[in-house]
Symmetry: C2
Subunit: 327 residues, 2 copies
């Protein structure tokens, strides 16, 4: 089977690609390399047939050219997006271009080429701040960040396209996803801070923000399970751990334990890390369970596993000097 | 008080403007005149202070220049949008530009200028097709047309902006709105068809599509009531009649009765007029009632009143020859 993955040189794409190649599928990876890395793509090549195109997915003509040889039967996994949430709060231009306009251009190219199978990486951020109320797929969507807004806007376009020209449109809404190769996020942020100053770790916010974390291995497993089970049409699934999450303080303590046990933790006073940050949420995955898939890792277990993986990768990257910077 | 109205030369804006001028407010109307008419603006001038700028609201620089003299305290009514739903199903470019990018540019200009009061004309189309289930404001939003998708996308941006830089953000979701000056829609379509061929009226779809219709006079009254009652922040209100709507067949019969009693009606076979059309919906206005405002007209009464108003306007426009075309 053929697959196109946008954001194909990024964190989640590389993990998805590995699973698809393992079952013998062929991949076309598209990425503008603004956040993804060519080295991630090169590492995939021994595993199976991988074509790569450096392309701005929001550029309809360039995207059309990059997808010219792709079978109309291919599954398209739309993973490219801005992933820097605070940056998008300050200026929505990056979310507009990297998240929304990529979706817009992709749908136009797919329609033109008669491609009818789309899977989209959405986010728990589309819900906004529901406090203690569980976020199920029927809950109202009132995103409080431009990141969440442009993801919801993309979902809306895909829903309309499902009415007009898609046969399969799957929307995955996931919380924070962790693992390797880590490109950004709280774990690599903490690990790198401690590598630079092993005695101290400053945490954004007061540490009480509580969130669900999903390991990328489970995310990929769930995405493939969902797409393998279902009759097509437009479907939305939350993917997440079964628990109510882990606090930023607990994450900081876990990183300290693994990386620099003697470090002091310093917390801020705000109950959220930045404007548009959802301080805590309860994620409902009943729909996914009913389909037949359940997560095995808790948020805490996912965090612990990812810390070990990221710390090992950082040590490899920096040789014998764990506190060193890249040459 | 000062007000900015985008889409200021359009159908709803003109009616809103009349009410605002009647209470002594000052208006700045912005419109690219792609659908609005300069004559509508001219008709407002005797009623009070009206400034008009022909501007593409999606053009951030041009918009900034047009709003340069406006008080930061002004209320902004964002009414401009694509209103041709079937056109947007075929090609989302017009909804992207006229609906979504106008919202995006407007929010950027408002932020830059410290303007913190926004009211947005959204639509029942953001909900999509919920069948017999009532559409209340907490219902999930899965639009099946690009028109609805770009309106929902705009709501999402406004919700995020309310978190970051707006004090007041009101979203009005309304169904079909009718009255004069009619620029498009089922009534003027039927009335003009009958003027051209008084003996026959062809109806898109099988006539069973059932929808809520709101008279523009009641819409404006409700919008002003909502903005006068409330503590600010982000608020979403359905505005509509109290009933479950009126079928296309009933509308066609009402137009025939008023315009050309002897005409034969011809129906299609589809249960909807076009892809992305929501064939029927039940609109919940409990939240608006709880705030203290209730509609007085049923969908049928609104239709009857609007037919008389539009037919009279068409007769005036075309002189003594009701079937004639404009010179």
């Amino acid at each position: 089977m053929d697959h196109v993955i946008t954001g194909g040189a990024g964190f989640i794409a590389v993990n998805l690609a590995r699973s698809l190649l393992a079952r013998g599928d062929r991949l076309v990876l598209l990425d503008d390399l603004s956040r993804g890395h060519p080295a991630y793509v090169e590492a995939l090549r021994p595993l199976g047939p991988v074509a790569f195109h450096k392309v701005d997915v929001a550029d309809e003509n360039a995207l059309g050219a990059a997808m010219a040889g792709v079978s109309p039967e291919a599954h398209v996994w739309h993973l490219c997006a801005n992933s820097d949430i605070p940056a998008g709060v300050e200026d929505p231009a990056v979310d507009l271009h990297d998240t929304f306009m990529t979706t817009y251009a992709l749908l136009r190219v797919m329609r033109k080429r008669g491609m009818r199978r789309l899977h989209f990486a959405s986010t728990s951020a589309v819900y906004g701040d529901h406090g203690v109320h569980a976020l199920h797929e029927e809950a109202k969507t009132e995103p409080i960040s431009n990141y969440g807004a442009m993801k919801l806007a993309s979902e809306a376009l895909i829903r309309a396209a499902a009415e007009a020209h898609l046969d399969i449109a799957t929307v995955f809404r996931f919380p924070n996803v962790i693992g390797t190769p880590a490109t950004h996020g709280v774990l690599i942020d903490f690990i790198r801070k401690l590598a630079a100053t092993p005695g101290d770790l400053a945490v954004l916010g007061n540490g009480t923000q509580k969130k669900s974390y999903l390991h990328v291995a489970e995310l990929v497993e769930a995405m493939l399970f969902i797409t393998a089970h279902g009759a097509g049409g437009y479907r939305v699934f939350n993917i997440g751990p079964a628990d109510t999450g882990i606090t930023v303080r607990e994450i900081a303590e876990a990183v300290r334990y693994h990386v620099s046990p003697g470090a002091r933790l310093h917390f801020g006073t705000a109950d959220r890390g930045w404007v548009g940050d959802v301080p805590r949420f309860v994620y409902a995955i009943d729909k996914l369970r009913a389909l037949g898939w359940s997560p095995r890792l808790s948020s805490h277990e996912a965090i612990t596993r990812a810390i070990a993986e990221i710390a090992a990768a950082e040590r490899t990257a920096h040789g014998a000097n764990p506190g060193g910077t890249s040459p």
